[in-house]
């Protein structure tokens, strides 16, 4: 444990990147996920088609490949630098990749949530003359969101763990698992305590998230 504690600054630095990646990607993937869901239930066939193709395509591609495209393909192809320093540039590309990928799962969860809203409610709203957007915004999505709090929590946990892949796949964000691998490779820390230390770090991030969302989902559950 000594060697692990001796490198505590590296460990903390690693986890700080993990947390930053998780929070930023969570925000963007949620927004994109809501947009995709709205498109997938919209009256315009083209929008439904585009959203479905996007979700099915990205969802079935390994995240490693999605990030590889972000790291090696798109960033330079468009000639856009997202930040002045390399560290932040790769960070933002990792956020884009993680968000693009996670949004598919947010959208899948939300769509399942939309299906839990009783038909009567939607029909009542329509009979009151609400348009599709009003219906979605005022009646369906609020209820759908409340019913998918639990699954969205799982998506967030999965996202937390997925940030480890940003350390490879052509991006090289120096997050927690990368720091662990470096410690293994350099032989500066005994393997088992190091692993347990990093594992605890991830459990500290994921377990409370799970409990919180479990509690929240019961609390906001729509009584039917």
């Amino acid at each position: 444990m000594e060697a692990f504690l001796g490198n505590l600054d590296k460990v903390i630095d690693g986890f700080s990147w993990t947390v930053r990646l998780t929070l930023c990607s969570a925000l963007f993937s949620f927004i994109l996920g809501v947009v995709l869901t709205a498109m997938r239930v919209s009256p315009v066939p083209m929008m439904r088609g585009l959203a479905t193709v996007y979700v099915e395509g990205i969802r079935n591609t390994p995240l490693t490949l999605v990030l590889l495209f972000c790291g090696l393909g798109i960033n330079s192809a468009l000639g856009v630098a997202l930040a002045d320093s390399v560290k932040w540039d790769v960070f933002w590309w990792a956020v884009i990749g993680l968000s693009a990928y996670t949004a598919c799962f947010v959208s899948e969860s939300l769509r399942a949530g939309v299906n839990t809203v009783p038909l009567g409610q939607v029909e009542a709203a329509r009979s009151l003359g609400l348009t599709f957007t009003q219906n979605l915004r005022l009646i369906v999505l609020p209820q759908a969101l409340r019913s998918v709090v639990g699954p969205l929590g799982s998506v967030l946990i999965a996202l937390t763990k997925n940030t480890t892949i940003a350390s490879v796949a052509g991006l090289g964000v120096q997050e927690a698992s990368r720091q662990m691998k470096l410690m293994f490779d350099q032989g500066i820390a005994p393997v088992i305590p190091t692993f347990i230390g990093f594992a605890l770090g991830f459990l500290i991030l994921t377990l409370p998230t799970g409990f919180f969302f479990g509690w929240l989902s019961k609390r906001v559950a729509v009584a039917r």
Binding site: L72, G79, G172, D185
Partner: protein, 280 residues
């Protein structure tokens, strides 16, 4: 009903087990070399699979300078080419492979360092490479390591070459980490990084692939003594390897191999045998 249900579960489990067995039977399907283990009449050698010119997997068989050297040394040790089992030795797992005995020998751009000598034995060196810098063909700003200040330099995961410049030489280059050198080359070709720096042998291999796109600045510095990695404690094998290396240079085979690998590039490889270090 009950019986039918149970027998169905039984069938499922049995089918699963059968599939597992079948998978075991075809589990030997690996790219290139076998899965190590060695022993018996074969020798297992770890080489790079992803470095053009040195060790590159060409649809199942590694080819390159390291591979030629390995074949020669194995021949001197009494193994015919068909008795060699190739296995991929990535930078990160070379020590582990030798310590575990997964491979008998590692010839994979493996530099002799004091740190590594604690863990494994080295025969050779069989070649001394120097570090150099690869830039885009139209780049005239970078002429040596000191010009890298403020530039973006690609570093391959598990390699120390980039750290030599930023830490040991104290030059303020920004590092962009990629999985391996071919990812670095991709980043260099699309302009995300300004330069790739590592052993000139490795760079020459990539430069040879697309000569119009990249050029080496030819400002070599430092030295990387490529050794033959061996499990710790086998002095006899180590001596035999050193004899083989000397013979390979004396017969002129070494230069021939270098010429095959790099002859078409402007990389001026050294034609002298490096000073043997002797076995501890």
């Amino acid at each position: 009903m009950r019986v039918r249900r149970i027998s169905r579960i039984g069938t499922t489990v049995a089918a699963g087990a059968a599939l597992l067995l079948a998978a075991g039977a075809c589990g030997g399907a690996e790219m290139g070399g076998g899965d190590g283990g060695g022993g018996g009449e074969t020798i297992t050698i770890g080489v790079k699979y992803d470095q053009p010119g040195l060790g590159l997997d060409e649809g199942g068989n590694p080819v390159g300078f390291d591979v030629d050297v390995a074949t020669y040394i194995a021949g001197e040790l009494g193994f015919e080419p068909d008795q060699i089992e190739w296995t991929e030795a990535a930078s990160a797992n070379r020590e582990t492979f030798l310590q575990q005995g997964t491979v008998d020998m590692v010839i994979a751009t493996y530099s002799i360092t004091d740190e590594r000598k604690e863990l494994v034995d080295f025969g050779g060196p069989y070649y001394v490479a120097q570090q150099d810098i690869l830039v885009a063909a139209d780049n005239d700003d970078i002429k040596g390591p000191e010009d890298l200040d403020g530039k973006v330099l690609c570093s391959a995961s598990g390699s120390r070459s980039a750290n030599n410049i930023t830490e040991d030489m104290g030059i303020g280059a920004e590092l962009r980490e990629a999985g391996n050198y071919s990812e670095c080359i991709e980043l260099l070709s699309n302009g995300t990084v300004d330069a790739v720096s590592t052993d000139n042998t490795i760079l020459a291999g990539f430069a040879a692939q697309s000569p119009d796109e990249f050029k080496m600045v030819n400002a070599p510095f430092g030295e990387e003594k490529y050794g033959v990695g061996l499990p710790k404690g086998d002095t006899e094998r180590c001596e035999a390897v050193n004899e083989a290396i000397t013979k390979m240079w004396d017969e002129g085979q070494a230069v021939e191999y270098l010429d095959t690998a790099f002859g078409e590039t402007d990389f001026a490889f050294s034609e002298e045998q490096p000073e043997p270090e002797g076995c501890a």
